[in-house]
């Protein structure tokens, strides 16, 4: 308990809360300028996210992919390798699961579902392995390669579902429906919340344990904080980075798997509205802390769900939430995980100012 208290970075939590608060205030101003009452707007948003059993379920349904991709981001960022390719890994993982679900249709659920999850994780992990190995072997910047591989994955799966795997039932830009035995049970009427939330919770606990309580997590963290120190201490830094990258890709792949098995029952050409990006945001806001990632994923999931109800109830466009998110990003960009990448820029900028006043 004492340890838990000590580890909490109070000043950061305060500054994060403050940036969220300011972002919400700016959102309120925008509403005001447009002649809407922020009070009504935000209460519609809140009740839209938490107000009923259905709303609550929808919020939690949204958090499943956010938590998984968020943890994926967190584990890679903490290890000093930056997987920005979550979206691509999610797409491939999702397609892999759908492929299992339409190919091995006669498998019982207790074999089929684990198979689909493992295969999806594997595909996502392998897809992250590629930029990982390029990084540790040839020092090719993983930020750039993972971003590019996103596009490749999205276009490739889009080709697959439009040609070789296109459904014959109408124009869907999707695959056939996966076999019934693969469908994860829905938990709340009308909402898409399904049993994947239990899988997700289990995975989140495992990842938390791995990152915070084990020697592997310790190695990850040391490599991320100071690679030289890690090497000096006998850690194989390259291997650790590669492992972290693969785990990260597997988590993002699984996010895709659950979208297929639990929500759409098929792979769709645009199966993710950018879950991995929101997951990354959750991770950034939480400074790669796994518990924080889960909390921030819930927060972002609530914003997303609530904004739809807000739009319906008050005709405040749901895009406002995007603006609020963007402002939060701006506030924390200097603080959180990206710091190292931007530190050079920052120093340049700061010292530039100093120089001008001096001249």
């Amino acid at each position: 308990m004492r340890e838990a208290m000590k580890k909490i970075n109070l000043s950061y939590i305060i500054s994060l809360a403050l940036s969220i608060f300011v972002a919400l205030i700016i959102g309120a101003l925008i509403m005001l300028i447009n002649g809407k009452s922020p009070f009504i707007g935000y209460s519609a948003l809140f009740s839209g996210a938490f107000g009923s059993k259905y709303n609550l379920a929808t919020t939690f349904a949204k958090t499943v992919p956010l938590v998984l991709t968020g943890l994926g981001t967190a584990i890679s960022f903490r290890s000093g390798i930056f997987n920005i390719g979550g979206e691509g890994q999610l797409y491939l993982g999702a397609f892999a699961a759908a492929y299992i679900g339409i190919t091995f249709t006669s498998l019982p659920f207790f074999i089929g579902i684990p198979l689909a999850i493992i295969f999806g994780a594997l595909v996502g992990g392998l897809y992250a392995f590629l930029p990982g190995i390029l990084k540790v072997k040839y020092k090719i910047d993983e930020v750039i390669t993972t971003i590019m591989l996103n596009t490749v994955a999205v276009l490739f799966t889009s080709f697959l579902v439009n040609y070789p795997f296109a459904t014959t039932q109408g124009k869907m830009n999707g695959t056939e429906i996966i076999a019934q035995s693969y469908h994860l049970r829905r938990l709340v009427k009308l909402s898409t919340l399904n049993t994947s939330i239990f899988f997700m919770s289990f995975i989140a606990i495992v990842i938390y344990y791995l990152m915070e309580k084990t020697s592997i997590g310790y190695d990850f963290k040391m490599v991320g904080q100071n690679r030289m120190f890690a090497r000096y201490g006998g850690i194989n830094d390259k291997k650790q980075m590669l492992i972290a990258m693969v785990i990260s890709g597997a988590l993002c792949g699984m996010a895709g798997v659950f979208e297929v098995l639990g929500v759409h029952y098929r792979f769709l050409q645009s199966i993710s509205p950018g879950y991995a990006w929101d997951g990354m945001l959750a991770s950034l806001m939480a400074k790669n802390n796994p518990v924080g990632v889960v909390l921030m994923a819930i927060f972002l999931g609530a914003l997303k769900t609530g904004s739809v109800s807000m739009e319906n109830a008050t005709s405040i466009p749901s895009e406002l939430v995007m603006v609020i998110q963007a402002i939060i990003v701006l506030f924390i960009a200097g603080e959180a995980g990206f710091k190292d990448k931007f530190v050079l820029l920052n120093i340049k900028r700061k010292s530039k100012k100093a120089g001008e006043t001096n001249a």
Partner: protein
Amino acid sequence: MAEKLIELKNISKQFPGVLANSNVNLTINKGEIHAIIGENGAGKTTLMNILYGLYEPTQGEIFIDGKKAVIKSPLDAIKQGIGMVHQHFMLLPSLSVAENVVLGSEPKKKKFFMDYDKAIEITKNLAQKYGFKVDPREKIEALSVGVQQRVEILKVLYRGADILILDEPTAVLTPQETDELFNVIRKLVSDMNKTVIIITHKLQEVLAISDRVSVMRQGKLIGTLPTQQADAKILTEMMVGKEVLFHDLHREKVSGEKVLEVKDIKAKDNRGLTVLNGVSFSLRAGEILGVAGVEGNGQSELVEVLTGLRNLEDGDYFINGKKITDVNPSNMRNLGISHVPEDRLTMGLSKEASLWENLLMGLQHKKPFVVKKIHLNKKKIFERTDNLIKEYDIRAIDRYMKVKKLSGGNMQKVVIAREFSFDSPILIIAQPTRGVDVGATEFIHNQIMRKRNEGAAILLVSAELDEIMRLSDRIITIYEGSITGEFKNKEVTKQTLGLYMTGKQNKLKGSEDN
């Protein structure tokens, strides 16, 4: 009558759990060299960081030229003509010297682009003006710490500072470099009307260079006195609060087996140039072998090769008589090598990590600190952490404190504590007392000697000849990547070593022949 330039009035700084400065009153006169001394953690760096605008004082005021100054950031400090070179450098390693020097107010081409040629020229001229030897085109990461420091100083001068704060500048320098630096400082003060504040742990330096000296202890300013009225004994007593006695180190007779041997090893530096040119020596259990050399002659690389951090290009490396084929850090650790690296912050520590995490490194996969293969056993880890904190007198709030918040000397103690706690048969130690106060230096020397008496084989690399001569049983001199001489400690003088270290041993022979 001296003219007051800076007055710090009643400055206090409270960190969570630590009162780092407590009602400090300090006056700096125009054109003086003012030394600030005190034990590790006394609050020297904190006080200077306040003057430089990095920290806001909890209480107190700063006056410059009699006017109250508001220094909220380094920007404000620079405007007031104050520049600081930090205890731990803040250069960008992937940029060149010139880029680092001008960074912040670069010469411009077409308004937007940095004029690189101009930057080179500026840097060259600056270096010439102040008598520094640096190549403006060289990348920082390829430079030794000593040269990096000159770049830091150049940077401050380029910004037009009139008041230079130097936080332990000599900690990383060789005696020759220190002399050069002191000449520069004297020139800055006498010819260019600068004022210099210098923090150091070396009393002979205080006596050699400063006009006045201020002593801090546990956050308080104990007193300021003209250097002429001071001597080492007075200053030590002021720092520590009591008389300090130096005992002779107890050296037991140990005759051990040969545990480490290298034959004709070669290695390249970061730029790919050969820096070790066929080095051979051996090391016995219960012996301290000192490596004396001017910085940059291959001793850093030698340490890295022996610990597996640098590629062994050629030659043979034996431990306990067995040839090592796979020389990598984890292997060398498993073979029983502990390593105190020369630069604690780039290699010896993770400053973002807590004390316990830093002390754990190397043991995270070993029982009893890990159970069931991967589960960290926090109870055991913390027990050990707390014992080490006590044993090595690391001044920290608790085991969760981030290492970056420790004072410089206490960071060094963390490295020493960790590496010495492994009870390794071989210790490779580089610059063990860099930035460490008198008391702690004494403590570390005693620990090194204790390890030796217990039978450890120790390789000691240090820029301080005094340190090498105090501890070593045997000394080898290294010059331009080759061993130039080997001596029994008792049978050699500093002067002789100095000649061998600079490749001038022939002179000696010549004069003996005559």
